[in-house]
């Protein structure tokens, strides 16, 4: 039995709103808080209800699926024994560095990191952790509190030059049940560059909280792909919080499918403008799944660029939410931002909510946005059929073509994970 630390609030403060029972149960089941920050997060979390649909940010997304998951920490051993045995996805090829983030071991243990990549620890880590969150005022955001309260496993890396191999971060929860949290920190120094493929998988009733912070120095380049292949009983809450210095280039590509509930929040701050941000998102819902992307890109200085494409495939009685906030204050003159959201509705019972949220104060800017919701085009289907391709196969070809526009942008090593087959719910070869 683990001793409960004195800082852990077993009972919410009297004046506070009551915590959601699920949170209360979860908090009660956690081991003692290892730090004051964790204790503080638990305290704050215990004082508030779950985000609800009364809040604008959560208006379309009901967290109910999360509360069906056992409110206890996921046991890494259970996770390891239930995750598919070797090889996880494709065999690690030369040219990629695969780290398993399963919590059983230190992923960097005994590893020779390639040139330009360093473990970040000690005071440098403490100084940097939370900095990007603070820059965007996100410290008390509910998903951040949840992540912190769970005392996440932390992987922190400093990037000092162009790193040659693809960094592949794999977290496969398998049939493990319960709740887990992961926290990543990437510090890219001036001129450094890194390509990351993050694979997140679940195959049973688990919830994962993923919090990534990244800082891009001047001229730094980060390409990050999130391939999240879930399960109808699993939830994923992911926040990708990035600060960009002038001259830096950021590519965030995400492909989400199969989750009972997934909420992705890419949050980018160009702290002095003059940087390039490219966002590519694809989410597919089927059955009664919910997928929600809330992105925000803020320009705190002039001449920043944003190129965003968000795509949705909504089938069954699934529900898809996209909210794309773009903030262009007066200081951000000559910003050039384009946001396009495209949704494909495959079922009458599916629901799509899509909302650009452009807040433009500067007057000399180019901001384009568009949103389309369509169905498979009869003329395209007919053209394929007229060549002898059966209607169902024709539909599949069109759908694959639609998804591939985003999937093709995942970092090079992604193909082995069969993103398309999994996204389409086709049986991938093991």
């Amino acid at each position: 039995m683990v001793a409960v630390s004195a800082t852990e609030p077993r009972h919410p403060l009297p004046a506070a709103a009551t915590a959601a029972p699920w949170i209360a149960d979860l908090l009660a089941d956690l081991p003692a808080a290892p730090s004051a920050a964790v204790a503080r997060a638990r305290e704050l979390l215990a004082q508030q209800p779950l985000p609800s649909r009364r809040q604008e940010d959560w208006r379309f997304t009901d967290l109910a699926p999360l509360t069906t998951i056992a409110p206890r920490p996921l046991d890494p051993a259970e996770q390891a024994s239930s995750a598919p045995a070797a090889p996880l996805g494709p065999v690690a090829e030369p040219g990629r560095l695969r780290l398993l983030l399963d919590g059983l071991r230190d992923p960097l243990d005994g590893l020779n990191l390639p040139p330009g990549l360093h473990r970040l620890e000690g005071e440098a880590l403490q100084a940097a952790l939370g900095r990007s969150l603070a820059a965007q005022g996100l410290e008390a955001d509910w998903p951040v509190l949840l992540n912190t309260a769970l005392a996440p496993r932390v992987l922190a890396l400093r990037v000092s030059a162009a790193v040659a191999p693809l960094l592949e971060l794999v977290n496969d929860v398998g049939t493990g049940q319960g709740v887990e949290a992961l926290r990543l920190l990437l510090l890219l120094e001036d001129g450094a560059s890194l390509e990351v493929l993050q694979v997140q998988r679940a195959a049973a009733a688990s919830a994962t909280s993923l919090l990534l912070e990244a800082e891009l120095g001047r001229g730094a380049r980060l390409r990050h792909g999130l391939l999240a292949q879930g399960h109808g009983a699993a939830s994923l809450l992911a926040q990708l919080v990035v600060s960009q210095s002038p001259g830096s280039e950021l590519d965030l590509v995400s492909a989400l499918s199969g989750w009972g509930l997934v909420r992705l929040e890419p949050r980018v701050l160009q702290d002095e403008g003059q940087a390039a941000t490219r966002l590519r998102g694809l989410q597919r819902v089927d059955g009664r799944q919910i997928a929600d992307t809330h992105s925000q890109v803020a320009f705190a200085g002039p001449e920043g660029r944003l190129d965003q494409l968000h795509k949705v495939v909504a089938d069954g009685a699934g529900r898809s939410v996209f909210n794309g906030a773009v903030r262009v204050p007066r200081a951000a003159q000559r910003t050039d931002a384009a946001q396009l959201s495209r949704s494909l509705l495959l079922s009458d019972r599916a629901r799509i909510d899509t909302k650009p949220e452009l807040e433009i104060v500067a007057d000399d800017v180019k901001c384009a946005h568009g949103a389309t919701v369509s169905r498979l085009q009869d003329d395209e289907l007919f053209y394929l059929q007229s060549r002898g391709i059966a209607a169902a196969q024709a539909a599949r070809l069109l759908l694959r073509g639609y998804c591939d526009e985003v999937l093709a942008e995942l970092p090079g090593g992604a193909a082995g994970w069969q993103p398309l087959e999994r996204l389409m719910g086709e049986d991938p070869t093991p």
Partner: protein, 272 residues
């Protein structure tokens, strides 16, 4: 080539079709035997493309009367893909762009569907690449087009060549080419016509929809039909096309007017 004893491939009888309750085809009759080349001409809007799409099974059109037999089988009862697999081909007047679907994969899936229907084995990717490279020469197309999405960003002429490439791969028994000559430069016209002639044989048949004699200079039709207001108004030999080139379509109005007057006079009787 006209052979009165050649098997009938396509027999269209009094075919009527509408779109959104609006009648467009108003009784088309046409018989095509193996080995024949037919040309269909007629004013814009006379129903030529509609006829071709109804034959191919486009869902936007509903057949309201008549019948179509394909080698004795009820064509209209089949799904579009089944029609294609048993050898009916439509070269589109406006080929559709399909972003994200690779031309090569599309051609392979289509070709294998047709091969299976003919009792041949499917081709694997390598065997298919060999075949497609050979057929590319029929239309003198750059292999680079295989790597692109189906028709996406193709010029008008490139799309038409891609149609003929598909025809060369699918080896249809009845090919309907809807204005495959429009938008082609002189060289491309010669290439496309060469491809059609190359593929035409004693066992298959071609129905060319065109506005121009210049196509019929290089592909000699056995029959020329003039379509007007949703029916075939007149049928003749290749001279009919030359006559149209001289006289235009003014005579069509008179003939239509008398036809419709006749119908109007008949209608009460039919009702009674």
């Amino acid at each position: 080539m006209i052979r009165p004893d050649a098997p009938v491939l396509l027999e269209i009888r009094d075919l009527r079709a509408s779109v959104d309750e609006q009648p467009i085809l108003k009784g088309v009759n046409l018989m095509i035997r193996a080995g024949e080349i037919h040309a269909v001409m007629g004013r814009n809007g006379s129903g030529k493309s509609t006829l071709s799409k109804v034959l191919a099974g486009h869902p936007a059109y509903s057949v309201t009367g008549g019948s179509v037999l394909y080698r004795g089988e009820d064509l209209l009862a089949l799904e579009p893909e089944q029609r294609a697999r048993i050898g009916l081909f439509l070269g589109f007047q406006y080929p559709i762009e399909i972003p994200g679907v690779s031309n090569l994969e599309f051609l392979r899936v289509a070709t294998n569907g047709r091969r299976l229907a003919q009792g041949q084995e499917e081709l694997d990717t390598f065997a298919f690449e060999d075949l497609v490279r050979e057929r590319l020469q029929v239309v003198q197309m750059d292999p680079a087009f295989l790597e692109r999405s189906v028709n996406e960003g193709f010029s008008g002429g490139e799309k038409k060549r891609n149609e003929i490439l598909q025809m060369a791969l699918l080896e249809p028994l009845v090919a309907i080419l809807d204005e495959t000559d429009s938008g082609l430069d002189i060289d491309a016209l010669r290439i496309v016509a060469g491809g059609v002639n190359h593929l035409a044989g004693p066992d298959n048949a071609t129905l060319l929809i065109t506005h121009y004699q210049r196509l019929l200079d290089v592909i000699t039709p056995d029959f020329v039909h003039v379509m007007a207001a949703g029916r075939i108004l007149r049928t003749g030999g290749k001279e009919l096309a030359l006559e149209l080139e001289d006289r235009g379509y003014d005579w069509v109005d008179e003939e239509l007017a008398s036809l419709e007057a006749g119908e109007a006079a008949r209608t009460p009787l039919e009702v009674a």
